[in-house]
Symmetry: C2
Subunit: 376 residues, 2 copies
Amino acid sequence: MPNRRLIGQPGSRAALDTPALVIDIEAFERNIAKMADYARARGVALRPHAKTHKSVACARRQIAAGAIGICCATLGEAEEMVKGEIPGVHITSPQVTASKIARLIALNRAAPRGLSVVVDHPDNLVALDEAARQQGTRLAVLVDFSAGLSRTGCADADAVLALARAAAAAPGLDLRGIQSYSGNLQHIAVRAERARRAQEQRAALRRILTELRAAGIAVEVITGAGTGTYDLDGDDKLFTELQVGSYVFMDVDYQRALLDGSNAPPFETSLFVAASVVSANARGYVTIDAGLKAFATDGPVPEVAKGAPEGSSYQFFGDEHGKLILPDGAEKPALGSAIECATPHCDPTVNLYDVYHVVRGDTLIDIWPIEARGKR
Amino acid sequence: MPNRRLIGQPGSRAALDTPALVIDIEAFERNIAKMADYARARGVALRPHAKTHKSVACARRQIAAGAIGICCATLGEAEEMVKGEIPGVHITSPQVTASKIARLIALNRAAPRGLSVVVDHPDNLVALDEAARQQGTRLAVLVDFSAGLSRTGCADADAVLALARAAAAAPGLDLRGIQSYSGNLQHIAVRAERARRAQEQRAALRRILTELRAAGIAVEVITGAGTGTYDLDGDDKLFTELQVGSYVFMDVDYQRALLDGSNAPPFETSLFVAASVVSANARGYVTIDAGLKAFATDGPVPEVAKGAPEGSSYQFFGDEHGKLILPDGAEKPALGSAIECATPHCDPTVNLYDVYHVVRGDTLIDIWPIEARGKR
């Protein structure tokens, strides 16, 4: 960890051993406060998604700002959050194999206030119930509704109802509620369209909730929404809690999607990759030490944010390198100089790093581990 | 590490905690032997590239088969290889910043038989020379020639010559040779075109070597070539050593590129991602637990290899999930069942995992750490 010695040194942000993942702590804290204020004002709970940051330090700050717990996409993330004593962990993907179920039940016993997991299939429900009973524990489950994305989740109201009934009757399970996450709506770049589609999804969910109530099945928790629909879904008050994730960091894709006409996106970019110029022999560009292994490649390209002439752009240039293309006539950044880029898709970008370099202004102030990086 | 208990159990390959990265040891060993035999027959040395496997266990097997050393793309990889007592480490990317140079010189002192690094700029050469002298050591350098890719490396013969002269005269440096790696040719899918372009690049390199000799500068090492041009470049005998990487694993992209008419590619796919079916409520597809965080996304999509009906295909379905699309009328794989996919681009895929699960046939036989994963 060659960067630890830089903590507290003025100007250290531009002297990091690169490539390095950087959090601008001021923007990060403003994002956390803004979402917490929104939720408080609307009377909706927050259980932010750790799939974005994968970090106990980040989760602690969300809890300190009033979040009631943390969502996790993988069991491995949940294990790290429980180890970090984060309360109220909810796992948003089904845990199906024998190996995962054994780990889940062990974690459920270790979690100080239990945890919850989604279920979307009767066979999985039976397996969870049996495993919980064998270990003399009870497991809280939420029935997953596919919410238009159909990645996981029950396909229709009948399936939700049948599964909810089975969960309510299973001695090893507690039916906690319903999850309905429309991941496919979050990045729709036209707000009116995003609003229309989110409303449709909520209408489908409302019909299901009406049927559940008619069947005498109590539903305590209704969880869903993401950074793209947080206020659209939150204002409607159907969800009891929001599982927003990316708002803490934002990324190139979300900043574009959440532009609303002339209105700036509601959250700030707080996550950057710091790189260095490592080759400068070509005309019109320099090569930096951040490539396919430094950024997620499933979204847009990184956006040059710092250290390069205005109008510079980025192209992937192999596993270890990026091409920093300079505008006509611009002076080349010097060999060895520091460049920062906003990240294309924050969640899988974070998954490429072991630590966050936390900066305040131009000074490195802390290094936080990314405990759940690569944890499945 | 829930999979360790499975080592030696028949059938354990289909019971792994997923997603997991799998090496088929028999195909892997055949690939290593085939390349070693080729090099031996041609009288060219092998210094295979660790950027592919990032693993001391893999490097040891290459050395045992006759390789004279190992190439590394990052200084962090080189640190792990030296820690693993791998001899003959060569770093194929320029190390430029003050932090990297300090680490490099420290590593050079620690490496039992020294190491080498490329240089492509006079300022970097001066900095390396000064750092080596200050620490009372000598550092072996290879002048990097851009070889048509222009990612790193000197742009022309004059620049190579000037840098070679300066290196030969620098008291802290040993001029070891020339690197000329045409990364942009390796994946060209038509062999005749790949051959023509590789020949052009070697012709440019030959002219430079002639000028160097005329200037009285001795060049011991000429390193280059990759899995796509290993025999094209190797047969020509210009290079003294080949820095091939992907041949140990192969991937979807290389298997397609190295098809030569009706001839099968020369190496076998030995690397797979094992996944599990985690949701099966939709028509025509199931959801598996391997998505954007389980595969590199810069190349083609993963290829379904095992556990699914013939003709099944893969689509990315978010960070944690993939859509396994079934052919018309095919029976769905059961919830929880094991699926394997060949990887799209092996090097950045490997970078997403902490360990290899080594299988012989259907049995897990070992787990190897990927020490240089994420090491910069």
